[in-house]
Amino acid sequence: MPAEFERSTTIALDLICPAGSLVSLKAAIDHGADAVYMGFRDNTNARAFPGLNFDEAQAAEGLRYAHDRGRKVLLALNTYPQADTWSRWTGAVDRAAKLGMDAVILADAGLMRYAVKQHPQLRLHLSVQGSATSYEAVNFYREHFGIQRAVLPRVLSLPQVENVVKHTDVEIELFGFGGLCVMVEGRCLLSSYCTGESPNSAGVCSPAKAVQWTETPAGLESRLNGVLLDRYGKNEKAGYPTLCKGRFNVGGETYYAIEEPTSLNTLDLLPDMLKIGVAAIKIEGRQRSPAYVTQVTKVWRAAIDAVKKNADAFKPTPAWQAELNKLSEGQSHTLGAYHRPWK
């Protein structure tokens, strides 16, 4: 592989698992995550659900648990601060540094500047919410804020990912599994038309208080602030109640007019990701329960170990695929934008 940059680390396909609670964090570590990512208990992260996430004491205990076992903890601070709540976000950066987080995952450039100035030793990752899709953008964040890693939005094909990796010394992290979003990550305002709350500042696409599920004779209905999102027939798999994944009547036809509720599953692409030099694979789902974290971590640990052992012979087992399919939102899974054979 032609490499324009000398990489300082040989890190390859680190498994990054979600933790919405201390129990989930321990499940991820126990089943082979190289690192977990978590959020504080407020809207400084993009999974701001009631009762989810970590207070300072829990975060400290999680860090101890991970570090005792040689693993890492990353903190998602990936929403966009507003002028009147700026100090909540900078306070979260300060707490992350004090606690000894292995990295903070940031999206906002102002917050990055704050972190670099106040805590130069703190490792920075560029969040997927930062929407950097080119190596020029990634390198901009590198030059100005010294970011060590970037999580790429789920819009690039693998050849495009490869092009980014070749032209930067920033580690590249890709999403491997879980819920997909409409792919204008960091810039999506869609649900605020229903709820009045922008997902990227309030920290959630569909605030639970605005969501209503009702069993009706016609099927299971989901509503967001009164707006009908979908009506599931008796045997249809349901999805999260987000506006982007609803079925709407457009031009006399009712269908998923924006995006189908499918889950990303890139097991098949692991050999390519390894060859390209992808540093880490991220599993979506901090909102899910410890059972999900256990199941998904087990499968991905086994798969990554297998591909590192022998990439040429690697083939996902039917058992892995069945386990991941069971966990999926919606009807099926997809390789997402990574795989575009017509390209």
Binding site: S21, L22, G51, K209, W213, Y232, K234, R288, A291, L327
Partner: protein, 150 residues
């Protein structure tokens, strides 16, 4: 695997029972077995909220509130109703299935206050299973551990 389905005759009888005795029995059992662990959680924000657990295959409708001193049977309109089969409830209790997984596949139905449902789910998820197991009578703890690892 445990066969949790009741014989149809017995299920018929259970279905016809008034809701109050099963709710009373549920609260008594939950207080004895689960409350010692659950009381370590912060229930303050959820005071006075009413829940219904509908065990579909058994025809049971368990209605209760959670107070500072534990579960209490209740007959008011529930704020949150969760429906599933006995087996799926036990899979959730044992942390062998994720509620979202069951929800996507339509095996778990949540009706009423979504925010309350999510808060309770996240509260229970944060509870270390060992805390629950330690408080159970030893034979039951052993059985639970076997079921969790099955």
């Amino acid at each position: 695997m445990l066969n949790l389905a009741l014989p149809p005759q017995l299920a018929n009888v259970v279905t016809r029972l008034p809701a109050a005795p099963p709710s009373l029995a549920f609260s008594a059992v939950a207080n004895r077995l689960l409350w010692p662990a659950l009381k370590t959680l912060d229930w303050q924000a959820l005071a006075g909220r009413r829940y219904a657990i509908r065990v579909k295959d058994l025809g049971l409708n368990l209605r209760f509130t959670v107070t500072q001193s534990g579960f209490a049977a209740d007959s008011g309109a529930p704020d949150l109703t969760i429906s599933a089969t006995a087996r799926d409830f036990l899979l959730l209790l044992a942390r062998r299935e994720d509620p979202d997984t069951l929800f996507f596949s339509r095996r778990l139905v949540s009706e009423g206050d979504t925010e309350l449902g999510l808060t309770v789910k996240n509260l229970l998820d944060a509870l270390d299973p060992d805390t629950v197991l330690r408080q159970l009578p030893a034979p039951l703890a052993r059985a639970a551990q076997r079921w969790m690892a099955a």
